[in-house]
Each structure stands twice: as structure tokens, then as C-alpha cells.
């Protein structure tokens, strides 16, 4: 994944040197600009077993700000926002790894440094007893849940030892 560059970011972004689960790292630029999930739309994407995007719909392209070419073939972690606690993703992966669906709220990072909240379902695709990939559907979250989860995630992040 490429570093985020100031030309793409709207406004002054806070810089993070972010290290992903697989050990790779990337420079993030993060702003407080929220984009609301468009009412009535759904984001659908599919990944291989490891979380590399294989297919997505136009709604993901529009909301994330990345082109389809930038998304397909890239880890879904390209959308990872530093405000998300690690344990949320650990829970996601352990749930789908057992072949069961996961649902939860996520704050995602846009290409322009801003963010958007989603309510997400991830379901593993199981063929002959083996997980071969995953599908995720995201929709508009309730604002009450977004408020609640923002606070919960902040506490979880503190407990994970980062501010």
C-alpha cells in the first residue's frame, strides 16, 4: 500500500506511521472530515481468504475515494482507520475463521484523509468445509450507535495502550 500524500488529502492531516498486521507499514494522513454513508446504498466487496479485495461495487469506490484499480488486489486494511481498536479486527478474523458471520461498526479511512462510519456484515464463503473467501456488506449505521461506539472504541484503544 502506498503512503498517503498531502496532495490527496483535504485539509491538514495528522500523520501516523501505521504498521499493519502483516508487518508492512504506511504513512497515514488523517483529518476530522466525516462523509455520511449515502442513505439507501450498500457497499459490497469480496476478498480472498487473507482479506485482499477481489471485487467491489461502485458504492465502495465512491465512498472510499479510491479507484477500483487501487482497491482490487489490495488488502482491505487500506481502509483501516487508526481510531479503530485492534481487538475489533481480531474478533472479526476469529469469527469468520470459524465459518460464522461477523457484524459490527467500523470507522473507515478515506483516500482524502476523512472518514465514514458503516454497519458491516462479513460472511465467510465456505466451499466443501473450507473457507475460500469473504463477502462484506456495509450500510448506513444508526447515529446513536456511532456516538456510542466512538466512545467505546476510544476506551478500547486506551486499554490497548495507544492514545
Amino acid at each position: 500500500m502506498h503512503d498517503m500524500c498531502p496532495e490527496d488529502v483535504r485539509g491538514e492531516g495528522r500523520a501516523y506511521e501505521w504498521t499493519y498486521f502483516d508487518g508492512t507499514s504506511r504513512r497515514l494522513l488523517v483529518t476530522d472530515e466525516e462523509t455520511r454513508f449515502p442513505t439507501g446504498e450498500l457497499i459490497v466487496s469480496r476478498t480472498d481468504v487473507s482479506g485482499v479485495i477481489t471485487m467491489c461495487n461502485d458504492a465502495l469506490v465512491h465512498l472510499s475515494g479510491y479507484s477500483r484499480e487501487e482497491l482490487v488486489g489490495t488488502s482491505h486494511a487500506i481502509l483501516r482507520h487508526p481510531d479503530m481498536p485492534r481487538s475489533v479486527f481480531a474478533d472479526l478474523w476469529s469469527t469468520v475463521g470459524q465459518g460464522t458471520r461477523w457484524t459490527g461498526y467500523m470507522k473507515n479511512l478515506r483516500r482524502d484523509g476523512g472518514y465514514y462510519w458503516v454497519y458491516a456484515t462479513v460472511i465467510p464463503k465456505v466451499v466443501d468445509g473450507v473457507v475460500v473467501g469473504h463477502t462484506s456488506v456495509r450500510r448506513e449505521p444508526s447515529r446513536a450507535k456511532v456516538e456510542e461506539l466512538s466512545a467505546v472504541y476510544a476506551t478500547m484503544r486506551d486499554e490497548e495502550g495507544r492514545g
Binding site: G40, E41, L42, R46, D58, T121, R139, E140, R143
Partner: protein, 250 residues
């Protein structure tokens, strides 16, 4: 052996006759005979699936998912550029002007079309209304869903967009659309049973010839395919099926 063409109750009821004309054309084009049945009830349609009375099927997305995954049906075509969208409606003269006005418990009139119901439920989630907060009042068809809402028998209704658009201006004036989906990937599909695997190409060729036949233009519009048919690839169908699976809330 009689082959059967099963037409889902989702198709616009005003155009059922067009589906019989379509069936005649398909028979002429492919040399395959089908006995067509337009179901007005999902339970009867599902019985036909179980009993093998569905060799050619025009099915909604949820049934497409089930037939392809569990019974090995093959996708053939879908109406080009047409997707299945749903909306949540309330009475125009009622107390709900926006999503924020909806109460914590809601009675919703709906048909038993599972794809419309799944989308409708998703549309209500942002208002913090989950599965346990909704009581569904199942009606036999979309017109009766609209009436139940107008007459305040139900607080809201789930309608497929095409059915809403087909309502009379007088009925529409008594409804307020609170929210409508824009999903684009959920579609009704024409499928064949695994026994007809060898005929998929012949059937597709027949459909493609309808697309270019000026005499078929009116028929195609009646069938809900004003831009003709387009091939529904196994990959497209698979994507839609995964989406339907993800939306099914167990």
C-alpha cells in the same frame, strides 16, 4: 415429459399475460415446450420448486440464491440495466414525516417477497429498528400493502420500487416514501434447472434475438426489461447470492 416454466409472484401482476406470450416465443425459438404457471403465492411457488415443476424460472434474488446454491440451477439472463430496489412507505396523512419520527416498535405491511423484506429491514436499521422491533403483517400483493398503510392498518410498508411506480396516482398521493434503496446489484433472474444445462445457449440465443426484434419492444417493456435481456454470468449471480446471504439475518 412436460417441462415447466415457473413465474414468480414478484412480476408485475398487470403484465402476467406478457409472460405467457414470452413463453410461446421461447418455445418457438428453442423448440423446447414449457407449461407456464404464474404463481400468485410464494408458498405455491416454493412447492413447485420442491416438486421439480420449475425447469425455467423467473425468480427474485432470494430465490435465485437458493436455487443456484442448493439445487444447481444455472443463471441465464436478467433485464438489462434493471435492478430490484425497495422502499419504506408510510401514510401521507400520518405522523411520520421522516425516519427519526418512527416509534421504537413498528408494524410493517409487506408481501412475502424475501428480497424486498431483506432490503426493507436494512433500510430501517439506521433508525435503530432491528429485527425484534418489527412486526410484519404479510399481505398477498403490493397493492394490499399500499392499502394497509393508507388505511393505517400498518404503520409502514415495504414495497418493491416497480410495484410502487405501478400504483395509481391517487394511491401514491396517500403514501409518503421515507427511504428508498439504491443497491443496483439485486436483480430478478431467468434461471434453468440443471436438467436443461445443454439448452442454456439455445435459450440465451432466443433471448438475444428478442433484443433486436422491433416487434418485441413492447413485450420486453411489459416483462420489465425495456432495455432487453442481458447475460447473467455465474460470477454476477454469485456476487448477488453472497449479498443475499449476507442480508439474510439469522
Amino acid at each position: 415429459m412436460t417441462r415447466h416454466f415457473a413465474i414468480s409472484p414478484d412480476v408485475n401482476v398487470r403484465h402476467v399475460a406478457d409472460w405467457f406470450i414470452f413463453n410461446t416465443k421461447v418455445q418457438r425459438m428453442t423448440g423446447l415446450g414449457f407449461h407456464a404457471t404464474a404463481y400468485s403465492d410464494f408458498a405455491e411457488l416454493h412447492e413447485a420448486y420442491e416438486e421439480g415443476r420449475a425447469d425455467l424460472v423467473f425468480a427474485n434474488a432470494a430465490d435465485t440464491a437458493m436455487l443456484v446454491r442448493e439445487h444447481g440451477y444455472l443463471p441465464v439472463a436478467a433485464a438489462a440495466g434493471v435492478s430490484k430496489e425497495a422502499m419504506v412507505v408510510v401514510a401521507a396523512d400520518g405522523p411520520f414525516r421522516g425516519m427519526a419520527d418512527l416509534p421504537r416498535q413498528l408494524t410493517v405491511a409487506s408481501t412475502s417477497a424475501p428480497d424486498v423484506e431483506r432490503i426493507g429491514r436494512i433500510l430501517l436499521e439506521p433508525a435503530d429498528l432491528g429485527p425484534a422491533d418489527l412486526t410484519l403483517d404479510v399481505k398477498p400483493n403490493p397493492v394490499l400493502v399500499a392499502k394497509a398503510v393508507m388505511w393505517h392498518e400498518a404503520q409502514a410498508g415495504f414495497l418493491p420500487q416497480d410495484a410502487y411506480e405501478a400504483l395509481s396516482a391517487m394511491v401514491k398521493a396517500q403514501l409518503r416514501v421515507l427511504v428508498a434503496s439504491r443497491i443496483y446489484v439485486v436483480r430478478n433472474a431467468l434461471l434453468v434447472s440443471p436438467a436443461l444445462t445443454d439448452e442454456v445457449e439455445a435459450i440465451w440465443d432466443g433471448l438475444a434475438s428478442m433484443n433486436v426484434d422491433p416487434d418485441c419492444a413492447e413485450l420486453l417493456t411489459g416483462l420489465g426489461a425495456p432495455h432487453g435481456w442481458e447475460r447473467l454470468t455465474p460470477e454476477d449471480a454469485d456476487f448477488m447470492i453472497d449479498l443475499m446471504d449476507a442480508l439474510a439475518q439469522e
